[in-house]
Symmetry: C2
Amino acid sequence: MPFWSWGKNKWNPDGKHCYVTGGSVGLGLALATILASRGAHVSIVARGKQRLADAIEVIESHRQRPDQIFRSFSFDLCSAEGAEAALDAVVADHEGLTPDAIFLCAGVATPRFFVESTAKDLIDGMNLGYWTEAWTSWAVTRRMVQQGRQGKIVFIASTLCYMTFVGWSSYSPARHAVRGLADTLRSELQLYNIDVHLFSPNTMLTPGYDEEQKTKPKITLKIEEGDTPLTAEQAAIGLIKGIEANHAHISADFITELFRASTRGSAPGHNFVYDWALDMMAMIGAPIWRSSVDTLIRAHRAEHAEYLQTNGVLSTHGDPGPTVK
Amino acid sequence: MPFWSWGKNKWNPDGKHCYVTGGSVGLGLALATILASRGAHVSIVARGKQRLADAIEVIESHRQRPDQIFRSFSFDLCSAEGAEAALDAVVADHEGLTPDAIFLCAGVATPRFFVESTAKDLIDGMNLGYWTEAWTSWAVTRRMVQQGRQGKIVFIASTLCYMTFVGWSSYSPARHAVRGLADTLRSELQLYNIDVHLFSPNTMLTPGYDEEQKTKPKITLKIEEGDTPLTAEQAAIGLIKGIEANHAHISADFITELFRASTRGSAPGHNFVYDWALDMMAMIGAPIWRSSVDTLIRAHRAEHAEYLQTNGVLSTHGDPGPTVK
């Protein structure tokens, strides 16, 4: 957004229908709560029914007006059919009209070494990290265009859509794919006046984070030990600020901001001078960071070999395929 | 590679076993031919048997020594099982040992508008643009580690792994995913001394290119009309030069080189000064390019609405899902 339009036409959720996938926990719930407290109608979709019920109670406690509509629905969003069915349910209380804003928060990471990942691990990674977002965006775009409605589609990726390292082979490809889709649609959906944003949070203190710590390789934990995680609320506030500023790519922490500014691709940046300064910092800093991480990884070889041995990773785990004769 | 090691330990395919997926046409065949002419044993895998037979004839005509082993195998590499079965066949004539270098050239693009893409189009895009490479890299990495063998895995993406625009919603996500996987494995496979490269060709004059022109939206054709395609041979030569220079990310044309240098993520760059100069050019040039393309796209709205109308895209095509009541 150029400086002369600061403060003009700031996006305002008041009275809008916001659809939040993965809205029952973590970032999705934090976002749904903020949107409710700012006067939006909120629909959330997730799988677990108890979590959805708990989430709706939290959202209700932020109600501003009696006419706000809060709904929750249990669907699996990993398939085109699931995404369509969820959308049918979500629009039912809104005269069949597509939501004004869609926040694609569903997503799960399961970090592991590549050689201990089964075929299912890799497929799950793509389903939970990419397809949940792709199918809902696909279903909703088509209907928005059919109905001639404008709207906003917000993809949620991760710092790992800009960069990646050891341990993330099932997750980073999915997050990179989300970035590829978001950037394509930012370009393409200009044909229909549909806005597309990409939000990339760094580590967040959510139930999903607790889960991913369980399978995370030691070397990955070590590389990440300097991270200062955000709360889901902090991330959600950063996301909404980015939308208000009409940024194509949004982040809520300085590390991701460095990678965003220095990993532009063809997406619009923020402020030229600001982005240039960050880019120069990253140009010096990123190779230093990478070198130090590469050194850590290479120093980890012996311990890793022992890990593979002790856990019988190469002989028994998962789906090793036929052994070599 | 730092300047003091120029010319040292340059990768040499002579006597090595090179496995080329998608090796029967286009870049894969051009690469297989060059590798054969430089003394490598070459195994190619693709689906079409006639094309494989034709390709082996071409490769044979570049034989340098009688003991070079050239083999072709017909497999579908879109599944973990297919990739494992292909690898079994490929290693059979090499004492079961994993190849010294794997070139992942299989890949097909089918550009289309997002709203006219069926669920199958999007799934095929990910299968043909990502999983063909992911499964083979997964199968081969595991065996390399089991056998304690070093090697080289070369992923092939596209300029569209760095940037993207209208028309590429089924392809760019897959190519971004390949970049995410390649960058993760460049980091992770240091644990086993396995080298990972990513090659990103721009438009190439191949049978695949002729296919993609058929479904490519008019606006996408217009945006690409200034492109100067490479031949598959030119691209293959660029790829091999990049491997000899030990570059993590390799491109064979100036436009991709601009996006590579300005879209670094956490992958190693080339030469600091050279990359910095390109980055500064891209910092000025990329927003200008993007603005001009965005202007083109917005000016295309009326014609596009007519296209959707005339072709009944939103009412009849593909798998529109339930209509809104």
